[in-house]
Symmetry: C2
Subunit: 341 residues, 2 copies
DNA sequence: CTGTTAGCGCTTTCAG
DNA sequence: CTGAAAGCGCTAACAG
């Protein structure tokens, strides 16, 4: 079962290559019987057309590049699942690459994808600045870009994510509604997404006439997973010593939330009796935590779906030379109430 | 910044295409100064060679296809992370596809990858039979196959996974060592992997002179996630009514383990006091469960790494027309003792 | 309805 | 050291 080509079929059936090509793409200008004969031979010999050659000719690969920071992060893997599913349905495939939160690697990924001739790139950019100009250039010429997740940047294209401020505000409000007043907000280092969430947190406090206290903000360096727990524990200890222990914690990322619940359990701090916990989390198993975790879950799969759909949309409109009106789509994050608050 | 080609460079610098081609691949037959001039121009205009054209010519795409059942399963996403990392280092890229536990979709994925001209396919096959003959054919001719995770089949190639029987036996022994005698084994439907694990479970019992009781085996249909919990709860209820409640549970898959711990918490069954729990799990957050979960964790990232390395190994040896000796590599799964037993 | 031809961008002999 | 030419497998314009 060696790979056979159009030429092989043409020779075997005593036809020309172009006839075979047209027949297999079901062109109307080919006789029915000829088509049948060709189709039969092709099937029998397991002919699979050579996408490479076709792409070289047509200038279209039907491959979309996707860049995320880490595949194994559950939020991203859910997005990727959505992307793969939708792309397959639309006859596209995806090459997935990891930027590992590193702008230089991200640049390399972009270049590789570009040289592979991908029709477009879906990306959750490492930073709000690093490769943005480069992406903008690509987008304006050869290679359309669609942004997902980290949508706080000035790139003029489709951006799919959630309204982070709103989601954070809602979570905070939920705590306040339940009479928690002294809320510690744990977040990552400065970036668009965490800043939005912080703003949402602060706005909720303000609306309820609660003064935001600087000591109720902890920024963790997420690049060093090992010490995240220490950073949190230190903070809690200090607050306790100052007699300012929080009655609730609001965590701003998946990793922080899941680590925090583990840490509190380990420290035998009762949730929610001593400290309540709410946070962003897309773990499939938040309900298996004990207590089951109350969390803000992003519609990850849907983000992926929409991102690829918008990309195909761009590709389509560009081909038809039609104008494209870009939009930023902020989906609704879901607040799942369980038992940790 | 439109895409530029060798031809563009050649014309601009008044050289021939072949000279430019050779210069950019640093051929020794090109003058140093010419190389420099060409390199400078290429960099300035952001030349990215067209992989498509090169592949068509060389017959090599440097793309490896990967087929898993679901990307968002944490075990697979960890494998994918390893695959992506290693492949990038070796100048390969991966196209990831999902078979969704469906042989027909799996077949489709294989065909698409084949027609894309991937250099090889890494796959965790849906079943021990469905597309195996087809894969064997591909492997023997054009497109080498490497199997990972589900390695209980007759395909003659590299297979990377773990020794499931051994891992299950060890987990069971650990329970027995701690004086649990009445152990309920919860597993999935009949397949190579779960069968191996069941065998390991039974062997451990036997070695300790414990009779295996048919009522201590529950097979769940994993395709219907929603009812898994019900199936487990029903079983526990029945056993209780018969006065045969287990003192420990050994779960055979990620999903089952994580669902079971959630269910037990929900039912207010104290772990490990009333029932102990041990199981396979590759969740990143097993330590955040409460109690922290004692589990068997597979070296997923490593499985991915090895799989791609073996693939590149095959590609290499085939090119050199050297003989290849296939082996099945069973890595060691790790037993992580925490507090659920 | 079928065939001829040119060419996508690149690599690779072979000549000069 | 540099260039001309062929060809990878396919599509598409054009001819017949």
């Amino acid at each position: 079962m060696k790979k056979i080509t159009l030429k092989d079929i043409a020779i075997a059936l005593n036809l020309s290559v172009s006839t075979v090509s047209k027949a297999l793409s079901d062109s109307h200008e080919i006789n029915k019987d000829t088509k049948k004969k060709i189709a039969a031979y092709a099937r029998k010999h397991n002919y699979q057309y050579n996408t490479l050659a076709r792409s070289l000719k047509t200038g279209k690969t039907n491959i979309i590049g996707v860049i995320v920071s880490t595949i194994s992060n559950s939020f991203f893997s859910q997005i990727l699942e959505g992307i793969e599913e939708s792309s397959l349905m639309q006859q596209y495939n995806v090459i997935i690459m990891q930027s590992r939160e590193n702008p230089a690697i991200e640049k390399k990924c972009i270049d590789i994808l570009y040289s592979k001739g991908v029709d477009g790139i879906l990306i959750s950019p490492v930073s709000d600045s690093a490769n943005l100009n480069y992406l903008q250039q690509l987008h304006q010429t050869d290679c359309p870009i669609v942004i997902f997740d980290r949508i706080n940047n000035h790139l003029n294209t489709f951006k799919i994510g959630i309204d982070n401020k709103k989601a954070a505000k809602r979570a905070t409000q939920e705590l306040i509604n339940r009479n928690y007043r002294n809320i510690l907000h744990i977040t990552g280092l400065n970036n668009g997404v965490t800043n939005e969430r912080l703003t949402g947190f602060q706005e909720a406090l303000k609306q309820n006439n609660i003064t935001f206290q600087e000591h109720n903000l902890l920024r963790c360096d997420l690049s060093q997973i090992e010490i995240v727990e220490n950073q949190i524990l230190n903070k809690l200890t200090k607050l306790k010593q100052a007699n300012k222990s929080p009655d609730a914690i609001f965590t701003a990322t998946d990793l922080l939330t899941n680590r925090t619940i583990g840490l509190l359990a380990q420290q035998k701090i009762k949730i929610p009796d001593e400290i309540a916990l709410i946070g962003f989390s897309n773990t499939n198993y938040a309900f298996s935590f004990n207590p089951p975790l109350t969390c803000i879950s992003q519609p990850a799969k849907n983000i992926g779906k929409l991102a690829i759909e918008k990309m195909i949309n761009i590709l389509d409109l560009r081909m038809k030379k039609r104008e494209i009106v870009y939009e930023t789509i902020a989906l609704e994050a879901e607040l799942i109430i369980r038992e940790s608050i």
